[in-house]
Each structure stands twice: as structure tokens, then as C-alpha cells.
């Protein structure tokens, strides 16, 4: 890193070398990058076909966790707000979708739209509170909000079926397990596309400017209140959609599915993935979704751990350890470790930027005009 006592001329030279590298990378052929991206996409699309049918629902769940990760990323990674009650938005979307499907007889697509709208409404309520309260106190409010949703909101019998739960049938076109997995992956792709374009809008950038210092954003003419609420609404909407898809994995949901530990898991996967980088958080989501299954399988096959009893019930502990490792030693999470690759795929040099914990994620401003 630059030392302020270094001869200024030397500093400029260093900068010019970096700028040259960036420009060289931008000028270089796009073909290798496109090939690698195509390869990754092909692998992802092949997974539902290749995986044992026993685990196909895990694939769906992984895609849905990825969607939730993008939702968390908008609120926590971009806008810098605390969210320890995100399971509430998932649940609200899940129950809304279930209700729309069964009680209102809506088609699946429309039910997802309802789920998104309800998620947005819930987020707007929380966002309104977040305007008055910040930092640690906001974190506490989100915890309380999550608990309130689980204990009170999701217990309202006529809306959510109370203890018995709410059914949420799958759409005819995607009712098979493999087809449903493709649906979830498809929605994840659309959500990522949306997020990518979001960061190219002035609203998306303004939201990101809120994270470090709201006063600076305000001094640049950014309406802090409006953009904070926007971040909540977008985040809630995406989480609502995830909820709708989530409800139809097992085709039944109950309030037990949306507790504090799930909210904490969502936060863990965002932090471990690398808050602020969409590719990182999606990988974090996928990791935490498959971790229980992974642990079970490894336990059966390898007995590598000192505890031969390392089954899925240890998953939260592994998650917690990953979190603590990330916070203390690898602040940028998975995304930071993949910094070089992510930078290259985004059109830059194949080099991890030493100055940034969270790598550039391409799209919006990272892309060429």
C-alpha cells in the first residue's frame, strides 16, 4: 500500500502502472471471460440433472438461499443496514403465496407477485422504523420484528393456518422436483440480472453511498430517507419472492420454519460470502443451504472428523465458526478470497485489489460504458 512518505513522483508512477493494467485488461479480448462464464453457467444448469434425486430439493433450497442472499446484500451490503430478522420477510412471502394459491386460487406466477408485494409492504414498515433508529438499536428492532412475525403474525390462524401450517402447491408446469429446481435457478438468475442492473442506476449507486456515511450522501444531494426506504423495499420484495418459492419446496410451511436462528443464518451467509458482492453472498447462501446435507454425507462416507458423529445437527456450529473466522481473519469473506477471479471476470485485471476487502462485482459502474 502507498506510504505517504514515499516520493510523490513514485506514487504517481505506481498509479499509472495500475491504470495501465486496468486499461490493458479492458482492451483484452472478451472471449476467454465469456467462455469461463459460459462454462460456469453450464455447470450450474447441469446440476439438477446430475444430482441424485434424493437431494434435488436441496438444489432448490440452495437457489432460494442464493436469492435471499441477494436480498440481504441489498440491505446489509449496499445500504449498510442491520437485518437480524430477515426470516420475517421470507415467511411473509411464503404465507402470502400459500394463501394466494390455496384460498384465492391464483396461478403460481401471480402468487409470486403477491409474495413480492407483501414482502415489500413488510419491509416498508420496518424501514419506517429504521429511519428513526440506527446502528445497534436498529439491530435490536429487527430481532424483535423477526420474533414478532414468528410469534404473533404467523400465528394468525385464518391467514397462516396457525400451528397446522399453510399449504402451497407447486405450479403444474414445474411440479416435478427437477423442473422445480430449474425454476428456482431461473428465478435466481433473473434476480441477479436485476441486481446487476440496479447498481447501474443512480438509485442503486445512491443506496450504496449510504453505507459508509449518510451525511456524505446527503451532501451530494442524495435523499437519504427515500433511498433507505427504497433499499428496504427492494430487499423485502426479493425476499418475498424467495418466500413464495420456499413455501412450495415442501408445499407446506408453518411458523416454526421462520425463527431467529434462520435469520441469523441468513446474516452469517451474507457476511461469510462477502457483504457487498453479489457473487460472494450467493455462494455463501448456497454453502449454508447445502452444509447440513454435506455434513451428513461426509459423515457417512469419510469419517474424517475427530468426532465421528459430525452430522447435520452440527451445521449451525460450523456456520458460527465460519462467521467468526470471517470477522477476525477474512473480512471480505468468500468474495475477497476470489478477488482476482471476480475482478478478471468483470473485465479487469486478474489481480486481487489489496485496498478493498470486498472486490468489485462488475456491472453498473465496473463495466465498460
Amino acid at each position: 500500500m502507498s506510504d505517504p512518505d514515499v516520493d510523490p513522483t513514485g506514487l504517481i508512477h505506481e498509479e499509472e502502472v495500475w491504470v495501465e493494467e486496468v486499461h490493458a485488461a479492458r482492451r483484452s479480448s472478451r472471449l476467454p471471460r465469456l467462455l469461463v462464464l459460459a462454462l460456469i453457467a453450464a455447470v450450474v444448469l447441469a446440476i439438477p440433472q446430475v444430482v441424485d434425486v434424493v437431494y434435488i430439493n436441496v438444489v432448490s433450497r440452495a437457489a432460494i438461499y442464493g436469492i435471499i442472499a441477494v436480498s440481504m446484500n441489498v440491505l446489509v451490503g449496499y445500504a449498510g443496514q442491520a437485518s437480524l430478522g430477515h426470516a420475517a420477510f421470507l415467511g411473509v412471502g411464503a404465507f402470502a403465496s400459500g394463501y394466494a394459491l390455496t384460498d384465492l386460487g391464483m396461478p403460481f406466477g401471480a402468487a409470486l407477485v403477491v409474495a413480492a408485494l407483501v414482502g415489500m409492504a413488510a419491509a416498508l414498515v420496518l424501514g419506517g422504523v429504521a429511519l428513526r433508529v440506527s446502528g445497534l438499536y436498529l439491530a435490536l428492532v429487527t430481532i424483535a420484528f423477526g420474533l414478532f412475525a414468528q410469534e404473533t403474525l404467523f400465528n394468525i390462524r385464518f391467514l397462516t393456518g396457525g400451528g397446522a401450517g399453510q399449504t402451497a402447491p407447486r405450479p403444474e408446469l414445474f411440479s416435478g422436483p427437477v423442473a422445480y429446481a430449474y425454476l428456482c435457478i431461473g428465478v435466481l438468475g433473473l434476480v441477479l440480472l436485476f441486481d446487476w442492473r440496479l447498481t447501474a442506476t443512480r438509485a442503486g449507486r445512491a443506496i450504496q453511498a449510504l453505507r459508509d456515511d449518510e451525511r456524505v450522501a446527503a451532501s451530494w444531494g442524495i435523499d437519504v430517507t427515500a433511498h433507505k426506504l427504497m433499499a428496504f423495499i427492494i430487499s423485502g420484495g426479493i425476499a418475498g419472492i424467495a418466500g413464495g418459492l420456499f413455501a412450495s419446496i415442501e408445499q407446506i410451511v408453518s411458523k416454526e420454519d421462520f425463527g431467529l436462528s434462520l435469520s441469523i443464518t441468513f446474516l452469517l451467509m451474507t457476511v461469510v460470502g462477502g457483504a457487498g458482492n453479489r457473487w460472494g453472498v450467493v455462494q455463501g447462501g448456497v454453502l449454508f443451504a447445502v452444509l447440513p446435507t454435506l455434513l451428513d454425507r461426509t459423515h457417512e462416507n469419510f469419517h474424517v472428523f475427530p468426532f465421528t458423529e459430525l452430522t447435520a445437527t452440527w451445521e449451525p456450529a460450523i456456520g458460527a465458526i465460519l462467521l467468526l473466522l470471517t470477522l477476525t481473519m477474512f473480512p471480505g469473506g468468500i468474495a475477497q478470497q476470489q478477488g482476482a477471479l471476480l475482478s478478471w471476470l468483470g473485465g479487469g485485471p486478474f489481480k486481487r485489489d489489496p485496498d478493498a476487502h470486498t472486490p468489485a462485482q462488475g456491472g453498473g459502474m465496473g463495466a465498460r460504458p
Binding site: V129, V133, L136, A139, L140, V141, T152, A320, L327, T328
Partner: protein, 304 residues
Amino acid sequence: METWIEVLVFGLQRGAIFGLVGLGLALVYKATRILNFAQGELGTVPAFTALLVMTGFETVGDKAVDRGMLIPAIVTAIAVGAVLGILLYVVVIRPLGKVSPVTSLVATAGVALLLTTIELNVFEARARRFPRPVNGGFDLPGTDIIVDWHTIVILAVLAGVALALAAFFRSAPGVALLATAEDPFAAELQGVPVERMRAMAWGAAGALGALAGILGAGVFESLTPGLVTSTFMIPAFTGVVLGGITSMVGAVVGGFALGIVSQAAIQIVTTYELDVPGPPQLAVLVVLLAVLLVRPQGLLGKSA
């Protein structure tokens, strides 16, 4: 009228546990500016340790408790709590360095999750019988209400701890501890062993947590993994916020207030046959929101 006295009695009983947990939270915050979400598990783990001592170290099955081992069990539990607190500080909090309060909250939440998972795997997800230090109760004069001796024990312990802490913070080491929180750099220059004081504060919080865990499990006469966190943490937090996050007296007052409020909520819903699910949690949430929106520094806290 009697029902309301009952509400008061139960409210004070629960509130005292909230207060004990809250004292641990306030102590850690006052001393190191960290909001310790793992404070609850700093109670459950020692409670399990006490259970182990009293059942002869059997983790499986449901062996009867040997009441003769009660005192050694309690002492062991408090020691375990203190060690766990110090360990938490040294292994997690210190390596974190200077982070925002939200980050430390998330980190301690991770620790709580870790501890709960370990408990679940070692002790299984079921309830075990847990004894009270003193059984039985007495009639509240002039009414038909029975007040458990356990309630008196909890109140007595709370009073004792509160007095001890009040005295401590007026003494030289106590003032030094406060100084390390206000201005660690200056304290260090003055020769105060900052790291040691912080570790001590966390150890004390762990010991407090252990007391809360044992007495809290005694309230239900059963112990399950994650008990203290799931039952007492949020109300304790709310009590601390209500009382003012830097005030130890506030933590106790807030804890009592929340205890009474949540019991009252249950009573109101029952009496008026309202179809409101989860009344105590709802009441706690309402209080939390009200405090944060109207007077975030709490009743006794200093203005932010």
C-alpha cells in the same frame, strides 16, 4: 384483585431473572462497549455443568439429581461461567479488534449459536429436570396466593449482586474499569491494565450469567439447550434498553418492568378472551419499539 397480585408476584420473579441477565449485559457494555448476545448461553452452559455435577456426569438418560451436591454444583457452575466469559473475550472479542456495535452483536450471536449447537449435540434436544435451591413456598398473608421460596431466593441474589456491583463501581478498581471503557488509551497511559480489566469484566458477566442460568432453569424446574437465550434474552435486552444501556440500576429496573408487563399481557389476554397470539412476546416488542422511538437512551441512561 388477587389475580393482579399474582401477576405482580410472577412478574417480579420473571423480572428478576431478566434483571440478572440484564446486569450481565449492562456490565459488559459499560466495561467494553459490546452488546453480548451470548450472555444467555453464558448461563445455559454453566447450568448444564451444574446438572452434570449433580447427576454424576451422565449426559444421556435422566438420572435423578443428588441434592447433596447442590452447593458444589452451583460453585462449579459459577466458575465455569466466569471462565467461559473470559474465554469468550480472549478468543473472540479481542481478535475482532475495533468493530462497530452491530458487528460485535453479530459475532456474539454467532457464539450463542455455536454454544447452543454444542449443547444440543451433547445433551439432546429434550428437557431435563432441574432442581431449585429451595423448594416449597409460603402463603402471602391475607391472600390465597402461594409465593415460592425460589422467587425469594432470586430476589435476594439479585439484590446481593446489585449491591456488590454498586459497591464495586464506587471502589478504585471499579472506577478504573469505567475509565478503560470511556478512554482506553488514557487509561493505559495511567498504568491501568486495560486488557486484564476487560477480561475481568467478561468473567464477572459470565459468573452473573451462570447465576441467571441456574435460577432461571429453577423457575421452570427444567433445562433445555438454548434455554436462557430463547426465554430470557430478548426481554432482558429490552429491559436494559428501557433502563438505559449504560445503567446497571436501569437493567434491574427495566428487567422488573418487563417481567410485570409480560405477565400482565398474558393476564389481560386471558381475562378479556382476546384472540392475540404470543402476548408476552408482543408486549415486549411493543415496549422495545416504544422506548427506541421515543427515548432511545432509556429511562436512566445518559442522552446519546
